[in-house]
Protein backbone atom coordinates (compact mmCIF):
# COMPACT_ATOMS: atom_id res chain seq x y z
CA UNK A 1 0.00 0.00 0.00
CA UNK A 2 1.31 3.38 -0.85
CA UNK A 3 1.01 6.27 1.46
CA UNK A 4 1.55 9.17 -0.86
CA UNK A 5 -0.10 12.43 -0.21
CA UNK A 6 -1.26 13.95 -3.42
CA UNK A 7 -3.14 17.11 -2.97
CA UNK A 8 -6.23 15.72 -4.63
CA UNK A 9 -6.59 12.64 -2.50
CA UNK A 10 -5.25 14.30 0.59
CA UNK A 11 -8.70 14.71 2.04
CA UNK A 12 -9.79 11.20 1.18
CA UNK A 13 -6.84 9.47 2.69
CA UNK A 14 -6.13 11.43 5.80
CA UNK A 15 -8.46 9.41 7.96
CA UNK A 16 -7.29 6.12 6.52
CA UNK A 17 -3.66 7.05 7.01
CA UNK A 18 -3.46 6.36 10.68
CA UNK A 19 -4.58 2.81 10.06
CA UNK A 20 -2.21 2.53 7.14
CA UNK A 21 0.94 3.47 8.99
CA UNK A 22 0.76 0.47 11.25
CA UNK A 23 1.36 -1.75 8.26
CA UNK A 24 3.89 0.49 6.55
CA UNK A 25 5.97 1.34 9.59
CA UNK A 26 9.36 0.08 8.58
CA UNK A 27 10.84 -0.43 11.98
CA UNK A 28 13.77 1.78 11.07
CA UNK A 29 13.84 4.77 13.31
CA UNK A 30 16.12 7.61 12.49
CA UNK A 31 16.93 9.36 15.67
CA UNK A 32 20.09 11.12 14.60
CA UNK A 33 18.72 14.53 15.32
CA UNK A 34 16.18 13.49 17.84
CA UNK A 35 18.21 11.96 20.61
CA UNK A 36 16.98 14.54 23.05
CA UNK A 37 13.53 13.20 22.51
CA UNK A 38 12.32 10.04 24.15
CA UNK A 39 9.59 9.23 21.66
CA UNK A 40 11.00 7.73 18.47
CA UNK A 41 10.34 9.38 15.14
CA UNK A 42 7.64 7.46 13.34
CA UNK A 43 5.78 7.77 10.11
CA UNK A 44 2.53 8.41 11.86
CA UNK A 45 3.30 12.05 11.34
CA UNK A 46 4.31 14.01 8.30
CA UNK A 47 5.58 17.44 9.09
CA UNK A 48 4.73 20.12 6.61
CA UNK A 49 4.36 23.82 6.03
CA UNK A 50 1.84 25.92 4.18
CA UNK A 51 3.02 29.31 3.00
CA UNK A 52 0.39 31.81 1.95
CA UNK A 53 2.08 34.19 -0.43
CA UNK A 54 -0.83 36.63 -0.28
CA UNK A 55 -0.29 37.22 3.38
CA UNK A 56 3.48 37.68 3.28
CA UNK A 57 5.11 40.99 2.61
CA UNK A 58 8.68 41.19 1.44
CA UNK A 59 9.62 42.35 4.90
CA UNK A 60 8.01 39.25 6.40
CA UNK A 61 10.06 37.04 4.11
CA UNK A 62 13.28 38.88 4.95
CA UNK A 63 12.33 38.27 8.57
CA UNK A 64 11.96 34.54 7.92
CA UNK A 65 15.37 34.43 6.28
CA UNK A 66 17.08 36.18 9.14
CA UNK A 67 15.24 34.09 11.72
CA UNK A 68 16.62 31.00 10.03
CA UNK A 69 20.13 32.44 9.86
CA UNK A 70 20.00 33.30 13.53
CA UNK A 71 18.59 29.95 14.54
CA UNK A 72 20.90 27.80 12.47
CA UNK A 73 23.96 30.00 12.33
CA UNK A 74 24.55 30.31 8.61
CA UNK A 75 25.16 33.41 6.59
CA UNK A 76 28.15 34.92 8.35
CA UNK A 77 30.72 33.20 6.14
CA UNK A 78 33.52 35.64 5.48
CA UNK A 79 35.43 34.24 2.54
CA UNK A 80 32.66 32.84 0.37
CA UNK A 81 31.41 34.98 -2.50
CA UNK A 82 27.74 35.78 -2.88
CA UNK A 83 27.07 32.71 -4.99
CA UNK A 84 29.12 30.53 -2.65
CA UNK A 85 27.42 31.57 0.57
CA UNK A 86 24.86 29.13 1.93
CA UNK A 87 21.18 29.92 1.47
CA UNK A 88 18.95 27.61 3.43
CA UNK A 89 15.94 29.78 2.76
CA UNK A 90 15.62 32.38 0.03
CA UNK A 91 13.29 35.16 -0.89
CA UNK A 92 11.90 34.77 -4.39
CA UNK A 93 9.99 37.30 -6.45
CA UNK A 94 7.97 35.71 -9.20
CA UNK A 95 6.01 37.38 -11.98
CA UNK A 96 3.26 35.69 -13.94
CA UNK A 97 4.12 36.17 -17.59
CA UNK A 98 0.50 36.37 -18.68
CA UNK A 99 -1.06 38.50 -15.97
CA UNK A 100 1.95 40.38 -14.70
CA UNK A 101 0.99 39.53 -11.13
CA UNK A 102 3.93 39.50 -8.79
CA UNK A 103 4.19 37.18 -5.78
CA UNK A 104 6.86 36.91 -3.14
CA UNK A 105 7.63 33.67 -1.44
CA UNK A 106 10.13 31.94 0.77
CA UNK A 107 11.84 28.92 -0.77
CA UNK A 108 13.63 26.35 1.30
CA UNK A 109 14.03 22.57 1.18
CA UNK A 110 10.59 21.27 0.30
CA UNK A 111 11.04 18.06 2.31
CA UNK A 112 9.94 15.93 -0.58
CA UNK A 113 8.32 12.61 0.12
CA UNK A 114 10.23 11.21 -2.86
CA UNK A 115 13.41 13.23 -2.44
CA UNK A 116 15.79 13.04 -5.42
CA UNK A 117 18.60 14.19 -3.11
CA UNK A 118 18.14 11.07 -1.00
CA UNK A 119 17.93 8.78 -4.02
CA UNK A 120 21.23 9.91 -5.49
CA UNK A 121 23.29 10.22 -2.30
CA UNK A 122 25.89 7.44 -2.49
CA UNK A 123 26.50 7.14 1.24
CA UNK A 124 23.03 7.57 2.73
CA UNK A 125 24.10 10.88 4.22
CA UNK A 126 21.01 12.47 2.70
CA UNK A 127 18.09 10.81 4.39
CA UNK A 128 14.45 11.19 5.08
CA UNK A 129 13.18 10.66 8.56
CA UNK A 130 10.05 8.67 9.10
CA UNK A 131 8.16 11.86 9.78
CA UNK A 132 9.09 13.27 6.36
CA UNK A 133 11.89 15.63 7.37
CA UNK A 134 14.84 15.43 4.99
CA UNK A 135 18.27 15.88 6.54
CA UNK A 136 21.97 15.52 5.81
CA UNK A 137 23.99 13.42 8.22
CA UNK A 138 27.11 15.55 8.53
CA UNK A 139 29.17 12.54 9.54
CA UNK A 140 28.38 10.56 6.44
CA UNK A 141 28.49 13.39 3.90
CA UNK A 142 31.57 13.09 1.70
CA UNK A 143 30.89 16.33 -0.12
CA UNK A 144 30.25 14.82 -3.55
CA UNK A 145 27.45 17.36 -4.20
CA UNK A 146 25.40 14.94 -6.25
CA UNK A 147 22.38 15.81 -4.08
CA UNK A 148 22.79 19.45 -5.07
CA UNK A 149 22.75 18.42 -8.72
CA UNK A 150 19.58 16.43 -8.13
CA UNK A 151 17.52 18.86 -6.05
CA UNK A 152 14.94 20.58 -8.27
CA UNK A 153 14.58 23.51 -5.86
CA UNK A 154 18.17 24.67 -5.54
CA UNK A 155 17.63 24.10 -1.85
CA UNK A 156 21.02 22.84 -0.83
CA UNK A 157 24.28 24.64 -0.10
CA UNK A 158 27.87 23.55 0.10
CA UNK A 159 30.01 24.85 2.94
CA UNK A 160 32.95 26.50 1.21
CA UNK A 161 35.03 27.48 4.22
CA UNK A 162 36.01 26.74 7.79
CA UNK A 163 33.38 27.87 10.24
CA UNK A 164 33.49 29.03 13.80
CA UNK A 165 30.91 29.79 16.50
CA UNK A 166 28.47 27.18 15.42
CA UNK A 167 25.19 26.42 17.08
CA UNK A 168 25.33 23.44 19.34
CA UNK A 169 22.36 21.79 17.68
CA UNK A 170 23.66 22.39 14.19
CA UNK A 171 27.21 21.15 13.64
CA UNK A 172 27.94 22.53 10.19
CA UNK A 173 31.16 21.52 8.52
CA UNK A 174 33.45 22.67 5.73
CA UNK A 175 33.20 20.45 2.68
CA UNK A 176 29.74 19.10 3.41
CA UNK A 177 26.27 19.88 2.13
CA UNK A 178 23.48 21.40 4.18
CA UNK A 179 19.90 22.56 3.85
CA UNK A 180 16.81 23.47 5.84
CA UNK A 181 16.22 20.91 8.60
CA UNK A 182 12.68 22.08 9.27
CA UNK A 183 14.22 23.04 12.58
CA UNK A 184 14.04 19.47 13.66
CA UNK A 185 15.79 20.28 16.94
CA UNK A 186 12.84 22.44 17.92
CA UNK A 187 10.13 20.33 16.35
CA UNK A 188 11.30 17.23 18.19
CA UNK A 189 10.82 19.11 21.45
CA UNK A 190 7.33 20.17 20.49
CA UNK A 191 8.32 23.56 19.08
CA UNK A 192 7.87 25.11 15.67
CA UNK A 193 10.50 26.16 13.12
CA UNK A 194 12.15 29.52 13.60
CA UNK A 195 11.01 30.91 10.25
CA UNK A 196 7.42 29.96 11.02
CA UNK A 197 7.63 31.59 14.41
CA UNK A 198 8.90 34.81 12.90
CA UNK A 199 6.03 35.13 10.43
CA UNK A 200 2.46 35.75 11.47
CA UNK A 201 0.60 32.56 12.11
CA UNK A 202 -1.84 32.96 9.26
CA UNK A 203 0.83 33.38 6.65
CA UNK A 204 2.93 30.33 7.47
CA UNK A 205 1.34 27.30 9.07
CA UNK A 206 3.41 24.44 10.36
CA UNK A 207 2.10 21.10 11.50
CA UNK A 208 1.35 17.46 10.96
CA UNK A 209 -0.16 16.95 7.53
CA UNK A 210 -1.66 13.63 8.52
CA UNK A 211 -3.39 14.87 11.64
CA UNK A 212 -6.95 15.65 10.64
CA UNK A 213 -7.32 18.03 13.55
CA UNK A 214 -4.20 20.06 12.80
CA UNK A 215 -4.52 23.56 11.49
CA UNK A 216 -2.43 22.80 8.44
CA UNK A 217 -4.54 19.81 7.53
CA UNK A 218 -7.75 21.76 7.97
CA UNK A 219 -6.51 24.70 5.98
CA UNK A 220 -5.23 22.54 3.15
CA UNK A 221 -8.70 21.06 2.89
CA UNK A 222 -10.26 24.44 2.30
CA UNK A 223 -7.79 26.55 0.36
CA UNK A 224 -6.23 26.19 -3.07
CA UNK A 225 -2.62 25.24 -2.61
CA UNK A 226 0.18 24.09 -4.86
CA UNK A 227 3.48 22.33 -4.84
CA UNK A 228 6.34 23.87 -6.73
CA UNK A 229 7.16 21.68 -9.73
CA UNK A 230 4.21 19.44 -8.95
CA UNK A 231 4.88 17.75 -12.30
CA UNK A 232 7.85 15.98 -10.75
CA UNK A 233 5.55 14.13 -8.35
CA UNK A 234 7.82 14.56 -5.39
CA UNK A 235 4.92 15.22 -3.04
CA UNK A 236 6.54 18.01 -1.13
CA UNK A 237 5.99 18.74 2.54
CA UNK A 238 6.05 22.47 1.89
CA UNK A 239 2.98 23.83 0.10
CA UNK A 240 2.09 27.28 -1.17
CA UNK A 241 -1.16 29.09 -1.56
CA UNK A 242 -1.83 32.27 -3.50
CA UNK A 243 0.75 31.45 -6.13
Amino acid sequence: MSKTLNRRDFIKTTSATTIGVATVASGITLTTFADTNKTPVTNEKRWGMLIDTNKLSEVDIDGMVSACQKEQGWGSEVHSTGSQKPGWIKKLKVKDKATGRISNLALMCQHCEEPPCVDVCPTNASMKREDGIVLVDKHLCIGCRYCMMACPYDARSFVHETLSNQKEHMPRGKGTVESCTMCVHKVDKGGIPACVASANSDAVIFGDLYDASSKINQTLKTVQSAQIRADLNLNTGVRYSGL
Partner: protein, 400 residues
Protein backbone atom coordinates in the same frame (compact mmCIF):
# COMPACT_ATOMS: atom_id res chain seq x y z
CA UNK B 1 50.75 -15.03 -34.12
CA UNK B 2 53.47 -17.01 -32.39
CA UNK B 3 56.03 -14.62 -33.81
CA UNK B 4 54.82 -11.80 -31.55
CA UNK B 5 57.35 -11.25 -28.77
CA UNK B 6 56.44 -8.95 -25.93
CA UNK B 7 59.23 -7.06 -24.25
CA UNK B 8 59.66 -4.38 -21.63
CA UNK B 9 61.06 -1.09 -22.73
CA UNK B 10 64.53 -0.19 -21.50
CA UNK B 11 63.57 3.01 -19.80
CA UNK B 12 67.08 4.24 -19.19
CA UNK B 13 67.29 7.08 -21.62
CA UNK B 14 67.41 10.72 -20.69
CA UNK B 15 64.10 11.19 -22.45
CA UNK B 16 62.50 8.55 -20.25
CA UNK B 17 63.61 10.25 -17.06
CA UNK B 18 62.67 13.66 -18.38
CA UNK B 19 59.19 12.36 -19.12
CA UNK B 20 58.84 10.88 -15.65
CA UNK B 21 60.12 14.07 -14.04
CA UNK B 22 57.78 16.26 -16.07
CA UNK B 23 54.76 14.14 -15.22
CA UNK B 24 55.87 13.97 -11.61
CA UNK B 25 55.88 17.75 -11.39
CA UNK B 26 52.34 17.92 -12.78
CA UNK B 27 51.18 15.37 -10.23
CA UNK B 28 52.85 17.25 -7.39
CA UNK B 29 51.23 20.45 -8.57
CA UNK B 30 47.87 18.68 -8.50
CA UNK B 31 48.46 17.43 -4.97
CA UNK B 32 49.53 20.91 -3.92
CA UNK B 33 46.33 22.29 -5.38
CA UNK B 34 44.29 19.76 -3.47
CA UNK B 35 46.00 20.72 -0.25
CA UNK B 36 45.32 24.37 -0.99
CA UNK B 37 41.64 23.77 -1.78
CA UNK B 38 41.11 21.54 1.22
CA UNK B 39 43.02 23.70 3.63
CA UNK B 40 41.28 26.95 2.79
CA UNK B 41 38.03 25.47 1.61
CA UNK B 42 36.40 25.40 -1.76
CA UNK B 43 35.84 29.15 -1.80
CA UNK B 44 39.23 29.38 -3.50
CA UNK B 45 37.85 27.45 -6.47
CA UNK B 46 35.54 28.78 -9.15
CA UNK B 47 32.66 26.63 -7.95
CA UNK B 48 29.59 27.91 -6.14
CA UNK B 49 26.20 26.64 -5.05
CA UNK B 50 24.87 26.56 -8.60
CA UNK B 51 27.92 25.15 -10.37
CA UNK B 52 28.78 22.42 -7.93
CA UNK B 53 30.71 20.24 -10.35
CA UNK B 54 33.49 22.21 -11.93
CA UNK B 55 36.64 21.61 -13.90
CA UNK B 56 37.83 18.59 -11.87
CA UNK B 57 34.64 16.75 -12.77
CA UNK B 58 35.17 17.55 -16.43
CA UNK B 59 38.58 15.88 -16.31
CA UNK B 60 37.51 13.05 -14.03
CA UNK B 61 34.54 12.02 -16.12
CA UNK B 62 36.53 12.44 -19.30
CA UNK B 63 39.24 10.10 -18.02
CA UNK B 64 36.76 7.56 -16.72
CA UNK B 65 34.89 7.55 -19.99
CA UNK B 66 38.13 7.30 -21.97
CA UNK B 67 39.30 4.46 -19.73
CA UNK B 68 36.50 2.19 -20.72
CA UNK B 69 36.99 3.10 -24.36
CA UNK B 70 40.69 2.32 -24.25
CA UNK B 71 39.80 -1.27 -23.54
CA UNK B 72 38.10 -1.52 -26.91
CA UNK B 73 41.19 -2.57 -28.77
CA UNK B 74 41.53 -5.60 -26.51
CA UNK B 75 37.83 -6.29 -26.81
CA UNK B 76 37.96 -6.28 -30.59
CA UNK B 77 40.66 -8.90 -30.40
CA UNK B 78 39.10 -11.13 -27.73
CA UNK B 79 35.42 -10.69 -28.30
CA UNK B 80 35.37 -10.29 -32.03
CA UNK B 81 38.43 -12.41 -32.63
CA UNK B 82 40.27 -9.97 -34.83
CA UNK B 83 43.85 -11.19 -34.96
CA UNK B 84 45.36 -7.89 -35.95
CA UNK B 85 44.44 -6.38 -32.62
CA UNK B 86 45.73 -9.21 -30.50
CA UNK B 87 49.28 -7.88 -30.03
CA UNK B 88 47.75 -4.61 -28.84
CA UNK B 89 45.53 -6.16 -26.18
CA UNK B 90 47.94 -5.90 -23.30
CA UNK B 91 48.62 -2.24 -23.88
CA UNK B 92 44.92 -1.62 -24.29
CA UNK B 93 44.21 -3.11 -20.86
CA UNK B 94 47.02 -1.11 -19.33
CA UNK B 95 45.89 2.21 -20.82
CA UNK B 96 42.36 1.49 -19.63
CA UNK B 97 43.45 0.87 -16.04
CA UNK B 98 45.75 3.88 -15.99
CA UNK B 99 43.15 6.28 -17.31
CA UNK B 100 40.66 5.03 -14.76
CA UNK B 101 43.17 5.48 -11.96
CA UNK B 102 43.78 9.06 -13.11
CA UNK B 103 40.08 9.80 -13.32
CA UNK B 104 39.30 8.36 -9.93
CA UNK B 105 42.15 10.27 -8.35
CA UNK B 106 40.63 13.52 -9.56
CA UNK B 107 37.12 12.52 -8.58
CA UNK B 108 38.11 11.55 -5.06
CA UNK B 109 40.36 14.52 -4.44
CA UNK B 110 37.65 16.90 -5.56
CA UNK B 111 35.26 15.70 -2.85
CA UNK B 112 34.45 18.15 -0.11
CA UNK B 113 35.73 15.55 2.35
CA UNK B 114 38.26 13.33 0.55
CA UNK B 115 39.39 12.14 3.95
CA UNK B 116 36.10 10.27 4.20
CA UNK B 117 36.85 7.96 1.30
CA UNK B 118 36.36 5.07 3.68
CA UNK B 119 32.76 6.17 4.18
CA UNK B 120 32.23 6.02 0.44
CA UNK B 121 33.66 2.53 0.43
CA UNK B 122 31.60 1.19 3.29
CA UNK B 123 28.26 2.99 3.19
CA UNK B 124 26.23 2.20 0.11
CA UNK B 125 22.89 3.53 -0.93
CA UNK B 126 21.92 1.07 -3.60
CA UNK B 127 19.39 3.44 -5.06
CA UNK B 128 22.20 5.80 -6.01
CA UNK B 129 23.74 5.51 -9.46
CA UNK B 130 26.85 7.04 -7.91
CA UNK B 131 27.17 4.22 -5.41
CA UNK B 132 26.78 1.73 -8.24
CA UNK B 133 29.51 3.52 -10.10
CA UNK B 134 31.89 3.18 -7.18
CA UNK B 135 31.33 -0.57 -7.34
CA UNK B 136 31.63 -0.60 -11.13
CA UNK B 137 34.91 1.33 -11.07
CA UNK B 138 36.47 -0.90 -8.45
CA UNK B 139 35.22 -3.96 -10.29
CA UNK B 140 36.73 -2.69 -13.53
CA UNK B 141 40.17 -2.73 -11.91
CA UNK B 142 39.72 -6.32 -10.82
CA UNK B 143 38.20 -7.54 -14.08
CA UNK B 144 40.83 -5.92 -16.28
CA UNK B 145 43.65 -7.01 -13.98
CA UNK B 146 42.48 -10.61 -14.22
CA UNK B 147 42.15 -10.24 -17.98
CA UNK B 148 45.72 -8.96 -18.21
CA UNK B 149 46.94 -11.84 -16.10
CA UNK B 150 45.25 -14.32 -18.45
CA UNK B 151 47.07 -12.67 -21.31
CA UNK B 152 50.44 -12.57 -19.58
CA UNK B 153 50.44 -16.07 -18.15
CA UNK B 154 50.92 -18.61 -20.92
CA UNK B 155 49.04 -21.34 -19.07
CA UNK B 156 46.10 -19.00 -18.65
CA UNK B 157 46.00 -17.83 -22.25
CA UNK B 158 43.14 -20.12 -23.09
CA UNK B 159 40.91 -18.24 -20.64
CA UNK B 160 41.80 -14.85 -21.98
CA UNK B 161 38.93 -14.80 -24.44
CA UNK B 162 36.41 -15.45 -21.69
CA UNK B 163 38.01 -12.86 -19.45
CA UNK B 164 37.90 -10.47 -22.38
CA UNK B 165 34.19 -11.03 -22.76
CA UNK B 166 33.58 -10.26 -19.12
CA UNK B 167 35.72 -7.14 -19.33
CA UNK B 168 33.85 -6.03 -22.43
CA UNK B 169 30.47 -6.45 -20.80
CA UNK B 170 31.73 -4.72 -17.68
CA UNK B 171 32.99 -1.69 -19.57
CA UNK B 172 29.68 -1.26 -21.36
CA UNK B 173 27.84 -1.30 -18.04
CA UNK B 174 30.39 1.06 -16.54
CA UNK B 175 29.98 3.68 -19.23
CA UNK B 176 26.22 3.28 -19.11
CA UNK B 177 26.52 3.99 -15.40
CA UNK B 178 28.65 7.06 -15.97
CA UNK B 179 26.24 8.41 -18.57
CA UNK B 180 23.33 7.68 -16.27
CA UNK B 181 24.75 9.99 -13.61
CA UNK B 182 23.25 12.68 -15.79
CA UNK B 183 20.37 10.72 -17.21
CA UNK B 184 18.83 10.49 -13.76
CA UNK B 185 18.80 14.17 -12.95
CA UNK B 186 15.17 14.93 -13.73
CA UNK B 187 15.36 18.43 -12.35
CA UNK B 188 17.86 19.70 -14.89
CA UNK B 189 16.55 20.29 -18.39
CA UNK B 190 19.88 19.55 -20.00
CA UNK B 191 20.28 16.06 -18.57
CA UNK B 192 17.00 14.30 -18.38
CA UNK B 193 17.47 12.16 -21.49
CA UNK B 194 17.78 8.43 -22.00
CA UNK B 195 20.17 8.97 -24.90
CA UNK B 196 22.86 10.09 -22.42
CA UNK B 197 23.99 6.54 -21.72
CA UNK B 198 24.55 5.34 -25.31
CA UNK B 199 26.07 8.70 -26.18
CA UNK B 200 28.59 8.28 -23.39
CA UNK B 201 29.42 4.81 -24.65
CA UNK B 202 30.26 6.02 -28.12
CA UNK B 203 32.14 9.00 -26.70
CA UNK B 204 34.20 6.53 -24.70
CA UNK B 205 35.11 4.64 -27.89
CA UNK B 206 36.47 7.78 -29.51
CA UNK B 207 38.27 9.32 -26.53
CA UNK B 208 39.79 6.03 -25.39
CA UNK B 209 41.07 5.15 -28.83
CA UNK B 210 42.58 8.60 -29.29
CA UNK B 211 44.55 8.11 -26.08
CA UNK B 212 45.54 4.64 -27.08
CA UNK B 213 46.83 5.73 -30.48
CA UNK B 214 48.92 8.53 -28.98
CA UNK B 215 50.46 6.25 -26.39
CA UNK B 216 51.13 3.54 -28.95
CA UNK B 217 52.79 5.86 -31.44
CA UNK B 218 54.83 7.63 -28.78
CA UNK B 219 56.11 4.47 -27.19
CA UNK B 220 57.15 2.94 -30.51
CA UNK B 221 58.72 6.14 -31.72
CA UNK B 222 60.66 6.76 -28.52
CA UNK B 223 61.91 3.19 -28.19
CA UNK B 224 62.75 2.87 -31.88
CA UNK B 225 60.50 -0.11 -32.36
CA UNK B 226 58.99 -0.78 -35.74
CA UNK B 227 55.36 0.11 -36.09
CA UNK B 228 53.91 -0.74 -39.47
CA UNK B 229 51.22 0.99 -41.46
CA UNK B 230 48.79 -1.91 -41.27
CA UNK B 231 48.14 -1.38 -37.57
CA UNK B 232 48.16 2.38 -37.78
CA UNK B 233 45.81 2.61 -40.72
CA UNK B 234 43.38 0.22 -39.14
CA UNK B 235 43.29 2.20 -35.90
CA UNK B 236 43.03 5.44 -37.82
CA UNK B 237 39.98 4.22 -39.69
CA UNK B 238 38.39 3.03 -36.51
CA UNK B 239 38.97 6.41 -34.90
CA UNK B 240 37.35 8.15 -37.86
CA UNK B 241 34.28 5.97 -37.60
CA UNK B 242 33.98 6.51 -33.86
CA UNK B 243 34.19 10.27 -34.06
CA UNK B 244 31.62 10.29 -36.84
CA UNK B 245 29.23 8.28 -34.69
CA UNK B 246 29.80 10.60 -31.74
CA UNK B 247 28.79 13.51 -33.94
CA UNK B 248 25.75 11.62 -35.12
CA UNK B 249 24.66 11.03 -31.52
CA UNK B 250 25.25 14.64 -30.61
CA UNK B 251 23.06 15.67 -33.53
CA UNK B 252 20.28 13.25 -32.55
CA UNK B 253 20.49 14.36 -28.94
CA UNK B 254 20.14 18.04 -29.74
CA UNK B 255 17.53 17.61 -32.45
CA UNK B 256 15.53 15.37 -30.15
CA UNK B 257 15.72 17.98 -27.43
CA UNK B 258 14.67 20.76 -29.76
CA UNK B 259 11.62 18.75 -30.64
CA UNK B 260 10.53 18.58 -26.99
CA UNK B 261 9.05 21.96 -26.16
CA UNK B 262 10.13 21.81 -22.52
CA UNK B 263 13.75 21.61 -23.57
CA UNK B 264 13.87 24.33 -26.19
CA UNK B 265 15.13 26.80 -23.60
CA UNK B 266 18.25 24.88 -22.74
CA UNK B 267 18.79 23.90 -26.38
CA UNK B 268 18.69 27.50 -27.50
CA UNK B 269 21.10 28.24 -24.73
CA UNK B 270 23.67 25.67 -25.78
CA UNK B 271 23.24 26.01 -29.54
CA UNK B 272 22.54 29.71 -30.09
CA UNK B 273 22.68 32.24 -27.30
CA UNK B 274 24.66 30.68 -24.46
CA UNK B 275 27.71 32.90 -24.89
CA UNK B 276 30.79 30.95 -23.95
CA UNK B 277 28.93 27.62 -23.98
CA UNK B 278 27.65 28.16 -27.50
CA UNK B 279 31.14 29.10 -28.66
CA UNK B 280 32.66 26.08 -26.95
CA UNK B 281 30.02 23.85 -28.47
CA UNK B 282 30.45 24.95 -32.07
CA UNK B 283 34.12 25.88 -32.23
CA UNK B 284 35.46 23.48 -29.63
CA UNK B 285 33.35 20.39 -29.63
CA UNK B 286 32.03 20.30 -33.20
CA UNK B 287 34.72 21.92 -35.33
CA UNK B 288 37.93 21.37 -33.38
CA UNK B 289 36.97 18.03 -31.86
CA UNK B 290 34.89 16.67 -34.72
CA UNK B 291 35.21 18.06 -38.23
CA UNK B 292 38.93 18.80 -38.21
CA UNK B 293 39.97 15.36 -36.88
CA UNK B 294 37.66 13.72 -39.43
CA UNK B 295 39.23 15.75 -42.18
CA UNK B 296 42.72 14.87 -40.98
CA UNK B 297 41.86 11.19 -40.91
CA UNK B 298 40.04 10.99 -44.24
CA UNK B 299 41.32 13.76 -46.46
CA UNK B 300 43.65 12.35 -49.15
CA UNK B 301 46.27 15.00 -48.38
CA UNK B 302 46.63 13.98 -44.73
CA UNK B 303 45.38 10.41 -44.74
CA UNK B 304 47.97 7.91 -43.60
CA UNK B 305 50.24 10.61 -42.21
CA UNK B 306 51.17 9.73 -38.66
CA UNK B 307 51.75 13.24 -37.41
CA UNK B 308 48.33 14.14 -38.72
CA UNK B 309 46.81 11.12 -36.99
CA UNK B 310 48.53 12.21 -33.80
CA UNK B 311 47.15 15.71 -34.24
CA UNK B 312 43.68 14.31 -34.88
CA UNK B 313 43.91 12.27 -31.67
CA UNK B 314 45.01 15.31 -29.66
CA UNK B 315 42.14 17.33 -31.10
CA UNK B 316 39.66 14.58 -30.26
CA UNK B 317 40.90 14.61 -26.68
CA UNK B 318 40.65 18.39 -26.43
CA UNK B 319 37.27 18.32 -28.15
CA UNK B 320 36.14 15.62 -25.75
CA UNK B 321 37.13 17.69 -22.73
CA UNK B 322 35.23 20.61 -24.22
CA UNK B 323 32.22 18.39 -24.87
CA UNK B 324 32.15 17.32 -21.22
CA UNK B 325 32.61 20.94 -20.17
CA UNK B 326 29.58 21.95 -22.19
CA UNK B 327 27.54 19.05 -20.81
CA UNK B 328 28.59 19.37 -17.19
CA UNK B 329 29.11 23.10 -16.68
CA UNK B 330 26.69 24.34 -19.33
CA UNK B 331 23.99 22.02 -18.03
CA UNK B 332 24.35 23.46 -14.55
CA UNK B 333 24.69 27.07 -15.64
CA UNK B 334 21.30 27.07 -17.30
CA UNK B 335 18.69 27.74 -14.60
CA UNK B 336 16.12 25.14 -13.63
CA UNK B 337 12.53 25.79 -14.52
CA UNK B 338 11.07 26.38 -11.06
CA UNK B 339 7.86 28.12 -12.07
CA UNK B 340 6.70 27.24 -15.56
CA UNK B 341 4.88 30.18 -17.12
CA UNK B 342 6.38 32.59 -14.64
CA UNK B 343 9.43 34.74 -14.60
CA UNK B 344 11.65 34.82 -11.55
CA UNK B 345 12.62 38.42 -10.89
CA UNK B 346 14.67 37.86 -7.79
CA UNK B 347 16.19 35.11 -5.69
CA UNK B 348 17.02 32.51 -8.30
CA UNK B 349 17.57 32.23 -12.00
CA UNK B 350 19.79 33.66 -14.66
CA UNK B 351 22.80 31.90 -16.06
CA UNK B 352 25.16 30.86 -13.28
CA UNK B 353 28.70 32.13 -13.56
CA UNK B 354 31.71 29.89 -13.41
CA UNK B 355 35.31 30.28 -14.29
CA UNK B 356 37.67 27.46 -13.51
CA UNK B 357 40.39 28.35 -11.04
CA UNK B 358 44.02 27.37 -11.46
CA UNK B 359 43.97 24.74 -8.69
CA UNK B 360 40.97 23.06 -10.30
CA UNK B 361 42.66 22.94 -13.69
CA UNK B 362 45.87 21.73 -12.12
CA UNK B 363 44.05 18.92 -10.33
CA UNK B 364 42.48 17.83 -13.60
CA UNK B 365 45.77 17.83 -15.47
CA UNK B 366 47.31 15.92 -12.59
CA UNK B 367 44.87 13.12 -13.29
CA UNK B 368 45.98 12.92 -16.91
CA UNK B 369 49.61 12.97 -15.77
CA UNK B 370 48.95 10.15 -13.32
CA UNK B 371 47.48 8.03 -16.09
CA UNK B 372 50.47 8.60 -18.36
CA UNK B 373 53.05 8.04 -15.64
CA UNK B 374 51.39 4.75 -14.75
CA UNK B 375 51.64 3.57 -18.35
CA UNK B 376 55.24 4.75 -18.63
CA UNK B 377 56.35 2.89 -15.53
CA UNK B 378 54.48 -0.28 -16.21
CA UNK B 379 55.75 -0.73 -19.76
CA UNK B 380 59.21 -0.56 -18.23
CA UNK B 381 58.55 -3.25 -15.66
CA UNK B 382 56.25 -5.62 -17.49
CA UNK B 383 56.17 -6.86 -21.06
CA UNK B 384 53.22 -4.95 -22.41
CA UNK B 385 54.53 -3.94 -25.79
CA UNK B 386 55.31 -6.24 -28.71
CA UNK B 387 58.91 -5.81 -29.69
CA UNK B 388 57.81 -5.22 -33.25
CA UNK B 389 54.56 -4.27 -34.90
CA UNK B 390 56.02 -4.11 -38.36
CA UNK B 391 53.59 -5.03 -41.11
CA UNK B 392 54.93 -8.53 -41.71
CA UNK B 393 54.72 -9.30 -37.98
CA UNK B 394 51.39 -7.72 -37.27
CA UNK B 395 49.75 -9.22 -40.28
CA UNK B 396 51.83 -11.90 -42.04
CA UNK B 397 49.18 -12.33 -44.72
CA UNK B 398 49.19 -8.70 -45.53
CA UNK B 399 50.19 -8.09 -49.09
CA UNK B 400 52.31 -5.12 -49.91
Amino acid sequence: MSNIRFEQIEGKSLGFYALIAGLGILILAALGSVYYMEHYGHFVTGMNNRIVWGMPHVFALFLIVAASGALNVASISSVFNKKLYKPLSRLSGLVALSLLAGGLMVLVLDLGRPDRLIVAMTEYNFKSIFAWNIILYNGFFVVVAVYLWMMFERRMNRFSRKAGLVAFAWRLILTTGTGSIFGFLVAKQAYDAVIMAPMFIIMSFAFGLAFFILILMASYQWTNRPLGNVVINRLSNLLGVFIAVVMYFVAVYHLGNLYLAENTGVENFILFDGGIYTKLFWYGQIILGGFIPMALIYHPATKGNRSMLGLASVLIIIGGLIQLYVIIIGGQAYPMELFPGKEILEGYGGVAQYSASLPEISLGIGGVALAIIAVTFLVKFLAFLPESLADDVANPHHKG
